[in-house]
């Protein structure tokens, strides 16, 4: 079964943008630009989800990743004034050859998998699970089948939040001491 032509064209265009954005993120020497390329990438991935008929995941992707997380990234970069990357220091030089090796490894594995199994268009997969991306379907899955992992994640996040609160609390205390000394 052939995929329909407009969808394929859209997919190809988006794929090019996604790869270009990913490369741009890696190549850019300015951290702000890197972050923005990543936002573009997230946006394209969200569109992929839309094409796959999963609007809920698409919107969640934009809200959480492109919206909240990347804004925090930008916030931190701007706050620290760390836009420009420092020239690579000597003890990181060994990373370059290693990364090349790893990339080759990754590419060969993907090629092996893709060629070994043949290209699946995904359409038959979609037909089997029509409406699998709707909000209610995801809600049902999350709160019934995957209830335990879901709750475990929330506890993990809670722990992280408490940790953050404790860390900033310590800082505030120090500030108060400094102030009382002044008075």
């Amino acid at each position: 079964m052939l995929p329909n032509i407009p969808e394929l064209v859209i997919f190809l265009v988006l794929a090019v943008i996604a790869v270009a954005a990913a490369l741009g993120m890696l190549a850019s020497s300015n951290a702000i630009y890197s972050a923005l390329f990543l936002v573009v990438n997230f946006g394209v991935v969200a569109t992929f989800y839309l094409l796959l008929g999963a609007p809920f995941i698409a919107m969640a992707q934009v809200t959480v990743y492109a919206g909240a997380i990347m804004v925090l990234f930008l916030f931190v970069i701007m706050l620290l004034g760390a836009e420009q990357m420092k020239p690579t220091s000597h003890n990181l030089l060994w990373q370059k050859p290693l990364s090349i090796v790893l990339i080759i490894l990754l590419l060969s594995i993907s090629f092996y998998v893709v060629l070994g199994q043949g290209v699946s268009t995904g359409s038959d997969l979609m037909q089997n699970t029509s409406g699998y991306g709707s909000p209610s379907a995801i809600g049902t899955l999350l709160f019934q089948k995957y209830l335990f992992p879901f709750e475990a994640t929330s506890i993990l996040l809670l722990a992280a939040m408490v940790g953050a609160v404790v860390l900033t609390g310590v800082r505030k205390q120090r500030r108060r001491i400094r102030k009382s000394r002044r008075l």
Partner: protein, 411 residues
Amino acid sequence: MSQVRKLETTLDELKTLFSDKAQTGETMVLNLGPQHPSTHGVLRLILELDGEEVVRCVPDVGFLHTGIEKNMEAKTYLKALVMTDRMDYLNNLGNNLTYCLAIEKLCNIEVPKRAQVIRVICAELQRIASHLVWLGTSAMDLNASSVLIYCFRDRENLLDIFEMIGGQRMMTSYIRPGGVWRDVPDEFVPAVNRFLDYLPEKLADYERMLTRNPLFMRRTIDIGIIDPSDAVERGMTGSSLRGSGINYDVRRAMPYSGYDEYDFDVPLEDGCDVYARYRVRMREFHESMRIIKQALDKLEPGPVITDDRKYSPPPRSELGNSMEAVIHHFKYWTEGFSAPKGEVYVATESPRGELGCCLVGDGSPKPGRVHFRTPSFHNLQSLSFMSEGYLVADLVAMIGSIDIVLGDVDR
């Protein structure tokens, strides 16, 4: 005279103002002003910020330096009076008064009773006008924009009254050595009474908008704390000092123009913060109105300027039939009057604090030296101390709360 110090500051000198962190970029040095919406004129503050927390605040003054003090030495006593209007442009009549009191003390001039009462009315009306500008602008600093417009609307009534008595809205030069320029017109008393009826209602409105407003209270309570001892050390005076609970009011401490005959309270608050200073000034509105009411009762017919022809011009009616009057008139308006040798210091309570005038007479018709001890300048000294450890937004509230006028700081 010793070598005049080079005025430009070198970079190395500037570096000593900040911590080492500023040089490594760990903290940010921000130049707030001289052109900035909330510096009340042309105040420049060089801030060292850690995030938005003020680590160090260095006020840089002098952008409105007009050389008034030095210029006054080149003019006769009377002509120099005009310049005092332009120092603290929200306390024009008060500046006149201080300078005239100094001349009167130097030359031993007796001021008629009616003139003294008119002076008190003028000074207190001026205090209300100045406080209205303060209330409007300091509320505006917290973005309560409507209060600004309301206060300026109310102040307009006062400016009309000043125009009525002096012919000018702001730079009246109405108070003259020996008394006041001329008697108040007939409409004056009704106009003041109308204003006294009008203002309390409006003030109640502003109190409703601000005093119990949770947002306003959050922005002002415990902000810009300055302990009484620190405030005194830094020469703070006026409402800002009384907000730290210290009872010092020149009208009580060194009464002038018959202030000792009036019944009024000196409002005190012991919060030491922006809110306390706000409360003090809001209560001072009412005290000023009390004083004005008493003064209006005391207003009895009589001369409004001394009849010592050496220090006051002869009335126009005398010029036609008295040769002596013509001579006095000519001498008074050309050469001016000479003050004896000597040095005097006189202080008044301006809306901002103790406004002092040190006048040195050298026997000539021109002052040997005039120096003003201006409250804004001394109050500004406390700003850098006050603001450390607070946020930039608090700093803005603090600038509003010490009510500086840059014309008063720089002269």
